[in-house]
Amino acid sequence: MENRSTQLLKGTLDMCLLALLRAQPCYGYEIVQHLARYGLDLVSEGSIYPLLSRLLTRGYIESYLVSSTEGPSRKYYRLQPEGAKQLEQWQTEWDTFARAVECLLKGEQAHDHG
């Protein structure tokens, strides 16, 4: 059975990936390391790749190969303008959601959105 933080991360991983790539272009393993530094540990590290693939297909990010003197080229990902726009939208949605949950947990009065 997955714990709650794993489930929460699953639902927001695409947003987290875009946020990380906004800061700097990264390759797959680097992304996992950055996430871990924020305390976001993935159950399986490879689960970022299907998501990166989806973000690529939607044009939110792009990939490019960086040649290495030590071995084969490494694939890096960077944020695209379309991805930056999407990230802003997701961030707004997340803020609204997080505020609502926080209010609920603190037992504050609900605001009528209808």
Partner: protein, 217 residues
């Protein structure tokens, strides 16, 4: 950071090969497949050097991981049709032909028979060879769970043995005439088949080498 031993390297290679083969079957274009393969390989190697397991990267079910990645990747059409055809010709047919030639040569050289008869039993044996080559290709998905290559092969053989026994048991309940001759040919045809098999294996080796030599970009 730890060094990657030979057994782990083999484990990684088997896993990556199994995933790549599966992506090929699903019709992921070669260039994209090569990139995915390289990414997976580099990630797993780095993770292992950092003291993590293969399961930490692909999860407990490597096939599900390969499937989820493929689902998010654009595919080319026909979906894996050419791959299935290639598997049929280069794997199944090549090994079935080899098997056929061994028994045909046994008939000609040891039993001194100028002709060879292909029976229904031989055809069933070809089907067994097909199942075996498929299982061999897919055994790499066991890599994250079964570290030793020897144990992986044992598990694959176990599955194969189980399937074979079940099929044999089912077939024994039927009343087919297993010695029914489907085709009969004389020894010159066997010689022609030897030539055909040599060409097929030559093309198989050449195709494998040229695939491995293509640059990433």
């Amino acid at each position: 950071m730890t060094m990657v031993d030979q057994e782990t390297q083999q484990q990684i290679a088997n896993l990556v090969n199994a995933c790549t083969g599966y992506w090929e079957l699903l019709g992921i274009p070669p260039q994209r497949r090569k990139e995915m393969r390289l990414e997976l390989e580099q990630h797993v190697e780095q993770a292992v050097r950092d003291g993590k397991s293969l399961q930490a990267v692909v999860g407990p079910n490597a096939l599900a991981f390969a499937e989820s990645w493929a689902r998010e990747t654009p595919r080319q059409f026909p979906r894996g049709g050419t791959v299935v055809l290639r598997w049929l010709i280069f794997d199944w047919l090549a090994y079935a032909l080899l098997f056929l030639l061994i028994i045909a040569l046994f008939d000609h050289l040891i039993l001194r028979s100028p002709s060879f008869s292909l029976t229904l039993a031989h055809v069933v044996a070809f089907a067994f060879i097909g199942v075996y080559t498929l299982l061999q290709a897919w055994s790499g998905f066991l890599s994250p769970r079964v570290r030793s290559r020897e144990y992986r092969l044992r598990v694959a053989f176990g599955i194969y043995g189980g399937i074979s026994l079940l099929v044999i048991l089912l077939l024994s309940l039927t009343h087919f005439s297993w010695n029914l001759v489907l085709v009969r040919w004389e020894w010159p045809v066997t010689l022609l088949l030897i030539f055909g098999a040599a060409v097929l294996f030559g093309v198989k080796v050449w195709a494998g080498r040229s695939e491995g030599q293509k640059p990433l970009r």
